[in-house]
Amino acid sequence: MRVSERIVKGGCYSPSQPAAIIARAYYELLENKTHILGSSTACVVVLQGDMGHLYSANIGDSGFVVVRNGSVVHRSQEQQHYFNTPFQLSLPPPGTNAQVLSDRPESAETLDFPVKEGDLLMVATDGVFDNLPDATIVREMNKVQGSTDLLLLQQAANSIAQQARRLAFDEDYMSPFARNARENGINAIGGKPDDITVVLATITV
């Protein structure tokens, strides 16, 4: 992400093509002297404020939701090869390429749509979506609807993260993940302990 940050700060990107930012950042990792290994999902959202338009690119099962007046108006599409195996960018160790899933940055799912003043945007990892149902997420976001107070927004983001974390370790809880697992023929119950990252923003155009 730090490479993405440098790309964006350097100004050499097109606001309407967040997938290109992901791609460029990914290929840039190959130019580092350190032999970087690892894999990740990615989600990039660009707000073109003067146009009131949002562009997004997503690879894998992280994602975003846009909430307006108590309901979800836009959300990203989860990309999976099969259950619990999301699309992912990866830099595998040399020689293991055949055994490792490595999706190309060009396979990112892109969406763009207009947004209004006061819309709430949350970008989060699957640890949030797997443990919190939409209703909970929307309820938390609604509490700060129309607010531009950074402290309040931070508190809301914290709250979402903390609830996700708590429920992740609740073994009896019918989490969204467990529900999905059952739909895929897997008898699962309880939350899903996983990385939880939340970014919450109010849109002002």
Binding site: R2, V3, R6, I7, G10, E28, L29, E31, N32, K33, T34, H35, I36, L37, P93, P94, G95
Partner: protein
């Protein structure tokens, strides 16, 4: 930014744009280790280390210059300024009178040797020059060299020159801050002695007060405010008069630098001899009788005068030529212009220079025009005319960073210079396949450097077919080439090849290595960042085929394994330089075996090799003191 009155202010600016540079570690289009990273505010300082967000120089030490395959510099008896290795041009948004320049050095500081200032690339003035500092502590620093006092001209471009020849590893710059004032004093001087003072400026006074080394903006603001006070201004002028201060009015700033040279010149022209006094008396007598106009010089044999003149650099020859008719005649002798190194004069070379030289260069064999003519100082017509007049005997032609070179120039070169052996044109971005194609006529080519140009594979293939004597080929940063195919072509047509440089090029795999293995004369292979895929068999064939392989750069070959190192240890006994930076799979044991088996090894780079740590490096340095081993730096906190 400090506003003092309605139209005077001191501006601090970071680089807005990089308009030219001689080399960079990274590739065009990347943001890792590239020249463009110097743009904008510093992001790394005060951290110290080898970070991708800095501008990283392409080479270090003597490893690229002291090897068999490196080009010999074109002879220059005594260059005015010691030659530098790299440069970068930094453009700023607002033109200012420079007060101070802050260089943010974040890795191996001390490689900067000169700073020039210019307005839109015209009239370069030397702001500072110094020696490379190799003994500086290994930590981040802001280097603010003192700007030469007499240079207060409006500038918006800074050229930084580097000499990293004494540095132990790559140098890097994070940012360059230019501090300057936008206006000179608006008050006209009130004294009558006008010629010296018509150019009195805030900047000159700032220098005198030592404000250019003031670190805080408040100090500068206070100082400038002091100067603007009318009373103080008058005081300064009076003080100057008393001190008999003279301002240089010469257009060419190196006047001061050349003064010492002139004194030496007059020593050269004295007659030497055992019985000097007697001789002089005799000569005086003869002269009084004959009254010749050339002074003592008339009595010297022609060969001796020419021999003396050959010791002088170009500028001294020109000045001598202005002294009398006789010396003018000798200074125009083409024998003095067989080797012409104009790179050492890049800041004064103009169309006029070439026009004036063309009358004297009928015997010209080696010409180095690298770095000359930037920002329109030289145009293609003048260059073509020059080559047309003087190029018939050319064997060596260096045109690195000559942005006036286009397809027509290559056409002229190819047709006029049948004996051309060496052509280097790195960074000449205006030439495309039409121009390159002309080079097929240069059948005697033994050295060709097309680094960072737009050479395409088909045209290159054509050139290689017609260059049976090619020994040295450089294709650094030519990312549009498929190196496997290039290697196959070389193996077919260029059997005498001794060196190939393809840094950051693309597409070289085992297949290409196998092809290169057929060129048994290869001694120097720079394949840094170019290789991909498993290479074991290809590498094995390569070292078996090229028994004389000395320099092998395999930087960022991520697939290299211990087994590959064992192959090198067993077969590549002549290795002097090896770079295997940036791998995860290589173990210290394999490196140790390599060190043990290659007695002639002088340089080994195992930086960024995950399994090689500083304690290994320390031990090896003790055990193998003749090898410079790079690597084992403590784990860097930031990877990107």
């Amino acid at each position: 930014m400090a506003r003092l009155s309605s139209n005077q202010c001191v501006l601090e600016q970071y680089v807005r744009e990089v308009t030219d540079f001689s080399s960079q570690y990274g590739s065009d289009g990347s943001i890792s280790y590239v020249a463009n990273n110097i743009i904008g505010k510093h992001t790394l300082y005060p951290e110290y280390g080898d970070f991708s967000a800095a501008y990283c120089l392409r080479s270090y030490g003597q490893w690229w210059t002291n090897c068999d395959s490196s080009p010999q510099p074109v002879q220059d008896p005594r260059p005015l300024l010691s030659p530098s290795m790299d440069f970068i041009d930094l453009k700023y948004e607002h033109s200012v009178y420079p007060i101070r320049v802050d260089l943010y050095e974040t890795y191996h500081p001390g490689a900067v040797v000169r700073m020039w200032g210019s307005l839109e690339g015209k009239n370069w003035s030397l702001l500072w020059r110094g020696e490379p500092q190799t003994e500086v502590k290994g930590e981040s620093r802001i280097f603010s060299p003192p700007i030469h006092q007499s240079h207060h001209k409006l500038i918006n471009i800074l050229r930084i020159e580097f000499n990293q020849g004494g540095h132990s590893y790559y140098s890097a710059l994070d940012a360059v801050l230019l501090v300057g004032s936008t206006h000179t004093s608006s008050k006209p001087p009130t004294t009558t002695s006008s010629s010296s003072f018509h150019d009195l400026s805030i900047t000159a006074s700032v220098m005198r007060l030592g404000l250019h080394s003031a670190k805080s903006e408040e100090d500068i603001v206070a100082g400038v405010q002091f100067l603007l006070d009318e009373e103080n201004l008058l005081k300064l002028i009076i003080v100057e008069e008393d001190d008999d201060y003279e301002e240089e009015e010469e257009e060419e700033e190196e006047e001061e630098l050349v003064r010492e040279e002139k004194e030496e010149d007059s020593r050269h022209s004295k007659i030497g001899g055992a019985t000097e006094e007697e001789g002089i008396k005799e000569i005086k007598a003869i002269l009084e009788e004959e009254g010749t106009s050339g002074g003592y010089f008339d009595l010297l044999p022609e060969e001796l005068i020419v021999h003396i003149l050959r010791q002088l650099d170009l500028r001294c020859v020109c000045r001598l030529a202005q002294t009398c008719h006789l010396l003018h005649k000798y200074a125009s002798d083409p024998v003095l212009y067989i080797n012409l190194n104009l790179k050492n004069w890049w800041w004064v070379v103009s169309n006029g220079t070439l026009e004036w030289l063309s009358g004297r260069c009928s015997l010209l064999q080696s010409l180095d025009l690298s770095w000359c003519g930037p920002y329109g100082a030289l145009d293609t017509e003048t260059f073509m005319e020059f080559i047309h007049t003087c190029g018939r005997q050319l064997t060596v032609l260096r045109l690195n960073n000559c942005h006036f070179i286009d397809n027509y120039c290559l056409y002229m070169i190819a047709n006029v210079c049948p004996n051309l052996q060496e052509l280097t044109m790195a960074n000449c971005s205006r030439v495309d396949h039409l121009g390159f194609g002309e080079l097929k006529k240069a059948r005697s080519l033994s050295r060709l450097d097309l680094s960072r140009t737009r050479i395409d594979f088909h045209t290159l293939q054509l050139l290689l077919q017609h260059a049976p004597n090619l020994h040295h080929l450089s294709l650094n940063n030519c990312t549009q080439l498929d190196l496997d195919e290039v290697a196959l072509t070389l193996a077919t047509f260029n059997h005498g090849l001794t060196s190939l440089a393809a840094w950051k090029a693309r597409g070289l795999t085992q297949r290409g290595l196998r092809a290169l293995a057929c060129i048994t004369t290869l001694t120097d292979l720079d394949l840094g960042w170019a290789l991909s895929g498993v290479v074991t068999e290809g590498l094995s064939e390569l070292v078996r085929g090229c028994r004389g392989l000395k320099r092998l750069y395999l930087s960022a070959l991520r697939t290299i394994t211990d087994h590959d190192l064992y192959i090198l240890a067993a077969q590549a006994s002549c290795l002097t330089q090896l770079d295997i930076m940036g791998t995860r799979n290589v173990t210290p044991e394999a490196v140790h075996r390599l060190l043990h088996s290659c007695p002639t090894l002088q340089l080994l780079d195992v930086s960024f090799c995950e399994q090689v740590h500083s304690n290994h490096i320390f031990q090896w340095r003790m055990q193998f003191p003749h090898v410079c081993i790079k690597g084992g730096l403590k784990h860097q906190v930031r990877i990107v």
